[in-house]
Point group: C2
Chain length 605, copies 2
């Protein structure tokens, strides 16, 4: 099936394929050789999916588009303060090759005009045995996810004819904006502009900027996260020279064009666009490139200030422990206590990136819930990132909660776990799984409300096992005699999924975990935990199907085993005992189904 998004790009390509306006750059012979019919459109999403139409894989020189990126490298090498002292960030209102330097200081207005771009090259350091151009090439290559190379013949032409740029270089040297004579810096600049890229490279570079500076194809960080907003900022305000205000107003995409015929546009946080078509308008921008960007922005509503694009609140779901319990099956008295007092345990599932405006509603919900609960479990399973602001707020809200006696627990944070701990949340309040977190809260709650230990003393006598609670002493004597005792070591498999189900187990001491076995994708997934006094394995036992899960001993375990043979014998020998057992089994299933329905309802809310 064809993607309608690809179909849209194809129609856009067809719309402008026949346009013959514009003129291929001819200030050097090498550029004049470009085939004016070449035309490619490429969109790369923030997660690395590529849509492309036309000539998206043929090389051309990057030219001025490189200015935005080498600015990022200069910031990484020197820091924002130092770079701002040499190069401004104000739109100049002038053309790209104007020698616009501020009166007095001689600082170029911004890094997108030639003067600013040459000054930017001067800020890049040669280090670690690499020259400036080697470092710039490696930096851009990481952004593109491809090893880029200089087009030597374009570079030689640029160098031979770049008289105006040499004048600019010496002016910058005159004002002390360059710390050294401009020769090598200018050669770096000419080489940087002569790097060969494809239309697809431009889209991926754009997606890298949209993706916090991480190349979404290679997964490698290309631009330091702290400088991504600076690069996008200068593209937004100065990227289109004296047309920048109108460009942002009408098109709303930070962008940069080059005389090689390329345009790079970025929708921050969302996607990158590359367009390639050599014929240029009088301002030096690709005629079809500009048209395609304008149409894409308008027809896909890609405007930077599109008011429909709002970050979602990070609160995905909120419920309490009367609705969703830990996987551990509690003895019925404990179960009743959790049903009654479980609203003191509040679980909030978070999602998406945590930044101020997504996390603020979570803080607000915590402040509102605090008087009604004793425990708050924050689940991070669906959280993709947490910035320093949200982590600071998390720590502060934890401190406030502690003051009023509310326990805050974080769980399932994956890679974010270490940031949560670094932010000041104690390790003992951070759990790998939500289930462990819930269990820990339930333990504290049960200890409080049941005023002491709530687990059955082990081994549990048969008459205290839930399944046998209606049995009289005759029943128990028979069962005691006919149900073999079996022992399992910690970690031993008691039941294996897929096997026949001819036995029902009653835990006399220890506890067991029912789980789906690990597959290639996921680890072992816990379904239930049964403590001493409870029975397991009844579902397949009853409907005579195969076991659907593994059961593993969590510690040394002792079980009584009710075999199918015994169970069937009861029909004739002791039908009333059979009725008691079936009633109790049906009761247990009914109770678990009730709880499952409550949980489903909470999860679907």
């Amino acid at each position: 099936m064809k993607s309608p998004i690809l179909a849209f790009l194809q129609s856009l390509h067809a719309r402008y394929a026949a346009v013959s306006e514009g003129k291929v750059a001819d200030y050097i012979p090498e550029l004049a050789k470009a085939d004016p019919r070449l035309f490619g459109i490429c969109v790369a999403t923030r997660d690395g999916h590529i849509y492309e139409v036309g000539d998206t894989r043929c090389d051309f020189t990057i030219q001025s588009i490189s200015k935005a990126l080498s600015y990022g490298l200069a910031l990484e090498d020197r820091g924002e303060g130092h770079v701002l002292s040499r190069i401004g960030v104000e739109p100049s209102g002038e053309a790209f090759n104007a020698i616009s330097l501020r009166a007095g200081s001689g600082t170029p207005f911004n890094p997108m005009i030639n003067a600013g771009a040459i000054a930017t090259c001067g800020q890049v350091l040669a280090k670690d045995g690499e020259s400036r151009i080697q470092r710039i090439t490696r930096y851009l290559s990481k952004c593109a996810g491809e090893a880029l190379e200089v087009d030597e013949s374009v570079y030689r032409s640029e160098s031979q004819t770049g008289h105006r740029n040499r004048a600019i270089g010496w002016m910058l040297r005159n004002f002390g904006i360059l710390d050294e004579d401009p020769h090598e810096i200018l050669e770096t600049y000419f080489q940087q502009c002569s790097l060969k890229v494809t239309c697809a490279d431009l889209a991926v570079i754009g997606a890298t900027l949209a993706n916090q500076g991480v190349n979404p194809i290679t997964g490698e960080r290309a631009v330091a996260q702290e400088y991504v907003d600076n690069v996008l900022g200068v593209m937004a305000t100065c990227g289109m020279y004296d047309w920048s205000g109108e460009w942002i107003y009408r098109v709303g995409l930070p962008a940069k064009s080059g005389v090689g015929g390329g345009i790079l546009a970025v929708l921050p946080g969302q996607l990158g666009i590359g367009v390639f078509s050599p014929p240029l308008d009088s301002q030096g921008n690709s005629v079809r490139g500009i048209q395609v960007c304008m149409d894409l922005a308008r027809e896909l509503s890609l405007h930077l200030f599109n008011p429909s694009v709002v970050p979602q609140p990070a609160l995905r779901l909120s419920y309490n422990a009367t609705q969703v319990l830990s996987r551990r099956r509690l003895p019925s008295v404990a179960m009743q206590a959790v049903r009654r007092y479980g609203d003191r345990i509040r679980v909030m599932e978070l999602q998406g990136p945590l930044v101020f405006s997504t996390f603020e509603p979570v803080v607000r919900a915590l402040v509102k819930q605090a008087p009604y609960c004793r425990h708050v479990v924050l689940t991070f399973r669906h959280v993709v990132s947490a910035d320093s602001v949200s982590l600071r707020l998390l720590k502060e809200v934890r401190d406030q909660l502690t003051l009023i006696g509310v326990n805050l627990i974080c769980c399932q944070a994956g890679k974010i776990t270490r940031n949560i701990i670094a932010a000041g949340i104690a390790e003992e309040s951070v759990f790998d799984s939500e289930d462990e977190a819930l269990e820990s809260c339930e333990d504290i709650l049960l200890h409080e409300v049941m005023r002491g230990p709530w687990k059955e003393p082990q081994p549990v006598p048969l008459n205290r096992c839930t399944l046998f609670c209606d049995c009289d002493s005759d029943d128990l004597a028979l069962l005691y005699q006919q149900m073999p005792l079996r022992n399992f070591a910690e970690g031993e498999a008691i039941i294996t999924s897929g096997s026949h189900a001819d036995e029902l187990f009653i835990v006399v001491s220890g506890s067991v975990e029912v789980c789906l076995p690990a597959d290639g994708v996921k680890g072992r997934q816990r379904l239930d935990v049964f403590d001493a006094g409870m029975s397991f394995g009844e579902m397949a036992f009853l409907d005579k199907s195969h076991r659907s899960a593994d059961v593993v001993a969590l510690e040394p375990v002792e079980c009584r085993v009710l075999t199918r043979q015994l169970f069937e014998t009861l029909d004739d020998q002791r039908p009333w005992l059979k009725i008691k057992l079936l009633s109790q089994l049906a009761n247990q299933l009914s109770s678990r189904l009730r709880q499952a329905n409550i949980e489903i309802s909470a999860l679907r809310s």
Copy 2:
């Protein structure tokens, strides 16, 4: 418990409370009276929550902040093209009161400088019996959610001393930017600048711009959605005059200040900020206001290009009909068929705002799943908005799916339902509830795979009812005789929640719905549907608890009733029948619990 966000604003207020720099505006005596100690900070979230510290509720005049808003009204009155022909959107690089008009056309560079703002007043229409200032006042009042009024004495002073602005007005008249003599337009401009606001008003106006133009407190639309990006655009590029580039680079918040001491800043899609402190710096900006905005932006990472703020993909969950079934309990043969072929029905739960970049991953998932399914159900319950681009893509993907024989269904779209239908999705493919949608897909699937009607012919004889499938003819004769038949009209309550549970029902013809009764917040919530041949009410019947839900006849219904009395009599009279019934009940519960566990696992994935 105190919100750490409020605590942060209080510490920020304390940080600058003692600052004595700056000078209250004194070009007219009325402004010079302002108390320099007044200082307020207010943040309003996109959903209307307000955090405020200090003097957030005292009046001052809005001054230049009004320029951004009356620009929005001018766009609504005249359209973008007309307004752009009179007023540019390029940063001027000059001070606020420069008479910067473009050579030749005489168009002011942008609407944020006085010349552009006066020209903007001229674009606002007097209509529907309202003068220009009345319409501007009403427009700003809607943004603030308060009836704003002109401070008459400030207005008179402004009018008496506004010589330079009068000169600008006549220059605009000279170039034909104003269509009439400037007197009334200038008075409108002076009055607009003299509107009284509070710091909290500014924050709410900001939140309105952050919230797609809808005031989040009143819920009323204040700014046309299509022009919100234009207003934010000129604030971003021209709001801070010749400091705009650096402001966006460093602070990253579209903003506007006024000589009354107010600053309005907006983080698009997220929040609004109002700061008030009368002493001004040499550029006419509030000294403390600028500091507070810079600190807020830096310490809460509120930068417009903050790379961590990424819109989340709209795909919340994806599962198939083997995992999550409709609430209808199917006869076991049909149930087996759904378990086997249910992966042909794919359900995707969507969330958040649907725009190109959030909906694109959904399109991609649909293209990927298409070869493996026959039905796709898109659930819109968690979708907050859908723009025209996402609706167009939805329609196009539906068309592509239809070509390859896949049925696309939309459900639970609430207010968005009409937009989905308007986009070209047929009404019969749009369902109110996900359950109805699933049921409809299951019906088609069952019809296909079972090659004909799959429901039991009604009335269902007792031996075809699931509960009695193991019974012999003696059992059936007894049951037939002792179980009364009861009829219910469509809509009649069969079971009421809270009542005693002394009966178990077997549906002989018709179908019933188990549901939670409607409360103040939610409508009736469907839990289960039982068709003829199935039994219901067994859970409370077994554990002797009260009924936890209502059961209502969906059509004329005939039931057999198994009373507790009969059920208990069986213990002695026919224990083997009792064993059969209990085994069957336990089996049914076991099967439902199995399915519930699969569903929980899918919902938690």
